[in-house]
Amino acid sequence: MPTSMTTAEAITLATDVLVNWVWPVEAAPPAPDRLDVTLKEPKELIPMVTALRVQRLGYLSAITGLDLGPEDGRLEILYQFCVAAAVITIRVPIPREDATIQSLTDLIPGAEPYERELSEMFGVTVVGMRNPLRLYLPDDWPEGVYPLRKDFDPSVLHNHHKEQSDAAAED
């Protein structure tokens, strides 16, 4: 079982598995207990995660979204796997406009809540998500507004609610 694996062994194995998988990928250890693997294409995600699963290497601890800002025009999605003290991160840069990524729920059923959070907070379309309903945001949240994007403007909400109450008053 991988639970008996030391941190250094995990990092070595992960480097071995991920870097020599089908596509060549960039891998860098920012700290002794971390390994960051940056993918070129979002479609490489599923094979990479499969590789980790085949080796039974770690468990999905979190999916973190990062908005690199409107100037950069990209979002970065971080899939963080933990084994012993090691954090193996698969970084997937995707365009801000038309952000789409494959769902991991077929491989990791526990990923569902993380993906739902990612999708409503960053406006990422997760293809194959079992339950696309909102998880955290209110029912009357305006469409197309994603709070964790850097250019999110809270006044949108105020206007949205004002429009709603005006409409209610007219009825």
Binding site: T3, T7, P30, D33, R34, Y59, L60, S61, A62, T64, G65, L66, D67, L78, Q80, C82, A84, A85, V87, T89, I108, P109, G110, A111, E112, P113, Y114, E117, M121, N131, L133, R134, L135, Y136, L137, P138, P147, L148, F152
Partner: protein
């Protein structure tokens, strides 16, 4: 006995909960009394904290993040502070590390005792609820005497802790631990031997080791299914490096195991606190951290009372973080609840929910049944027969009783 017709009712539970804690909403489909599907809706307590961190300085964020949860506030503060310290490359004095550990373990004790009470209440065992909460006040008094506040004690600062432990504090803690240890033996006996309580816990909500791994369960919930998942052991941080923890696991995976694991963890916490107090390192309790944090990313994991707490902090070199991601333990275990509830009696759902020690709790007193169509449901006689059969399976025979 099976119901004659297969009718699906949807039972909404929540979001307003009669007695306990946080709001959340469940849509539970039932066939008769048996749960066939469960859908969870969160967000009633969503405040937008992750966004708010992006407009506050690191010091302000420490206080904001402590208020993510009032039960495990210290561990949120610790995770954030240690993540930032790692980014800043600051070495925290050993005494501060030890004090962080002691407060974290005191928090674990108070959280587990709180949970024991809540779990017992859901099982209809209010006497245990009252007893465990009475004893929990002992820990609250300790935390108050150390920090000045019962909840949200805010012991952390960037680079150390705010409060030192005096000889008087140490004496108080040791005395309280002796009392709590004696009480905990009693609780362990109660939850593993009380026949009526065991009927509500033994074999209910069983999660196998495989399920726990696949569903990504963590913390005591996973450990009760035999999965060794404890950040204090896997990736020791702070004073846990010098003071290793012994894990408590159980292979049964049912509610009883979850009760047993959490109560046994209390003994481990008592032992750990005594060990650390025994050789509390002398010296400073804090070191200076510059206001601006160097550019970089840090992922930090700690073991909260409910399981692994994951923090990801990204700094862009200013005094305001560029992104703080928090992944709390409850969300991992939620998936398991939804899966486990299926196939159980509706009345067991609150117990199963309480079993993961969610940061919100659910109570079946607000259940409202929506009948989708003109279904006739069960007749009283059918219900009576079903009840008799049900209790016979649980070795109680109500058959000879005659209803008037």
């Amino acid at each position: 006995m099976q119901p004659q017709k297969t009718e699906q009712f949807t039972v909404p539970i929540g979001p307003q909960h009669p007695a306990l804690k946080e709001p959340s909403s469940f849509l539970i489909s039932v066939d008769g009394e048996v749960v066939t599907n469960a859908i969870v809706r969160l967000g009633y307590a969503h405040r937008g904290i992750e966004k708010a961190t992006e407009s506050r300085t690191y010091v302000q964020n420490l206080y904001l993040l402590e208020r993510i949860c009032g039960i495990c506030s210290h561990i949120h503060g610790t995770a954030f502070a240690m993540g930032v310290e790692r980014l800043a490359g600051v070495e925290v004095p050993p005494r501060a590390q030890a004090i962080r550990l002691i407060i974290a373990e005191l928090e674990r004790i108070h959280s587990h005792m709180l949970w024991l009470g809540v779990g017992a209440h859901q099982g209809g065992f209010d006497a245990l609820f009252m007893f465990s909460w009475r004893d929990r006040e002992t820990v609250m008094d300790l935390l108050e005497s150390i920090s000045g506040n019962r909840v949200n004690y805010s012991a952390n600062v960037l680079g150390g802790v705010k409060f030192d432990l005096t000889a008087a504090h140490i004496g108080d803690i040791l005395k309280a631990l002796d009392y709590l240890e004696e009480r905990t033996h009693h609780y362990l006996k109660v939850v593993t031997t009380d026949a009526s309580f065991l009927q509500r816990t033994r074999g209910i909500g069983t999660m196998t080791r495989h399920q726990a791994e696949v569903l990504g369960a963590i913390g005591p919930t996973a450990r009760a299914s035999g999965v060794l998942r404890d950040v204090r052991i896997e990736a020791p941080y702070g004073a846990y490096v010098d003071h290793p923890v012994t894990t408590i696991t159980d292979d049964r995976g049912d509610l009883e195991a979850r009760f047993a694991v959490r109560i046994k963890e209390l003994f481990e916490s008592y032992r750990l606190i005594r060990e650390v107090l025994d050789d509390l390192p002398p010296g400073d309790i804090k070191t200076r951290v510059k206001r601006k944090i160097p550019e970089g990313e840090a992922a930090f994991r700690v073991e909260a009372p409910r399981g692994e707490l994951f923090y990801f902090i990204k700094s862009d070199g200013t005094d305001i973080p560029s992104r703080v991601k928090v992944r709390t333990p409850t969300i991992c275990n939620m998936t398991s609840v939804v899966k486990l509830a299926v196939g159980h009696q509706l009345a067991d759902v609150p117990m199963i929910l309480a079993g993961i020690d969610p940061c919100f709790s659910c109570n079946d007193r607000m259940v409202r049944v929506n009948r989708n169509n003109g279904s006739d449901g069960w007749t009283w006689e059918q219900l009576r027969q079903h009840g008799i059969e049900y209790y016979k399976q649980r070795s109680q025979d109500y058959d000879p009783l005659v209803v008037g």
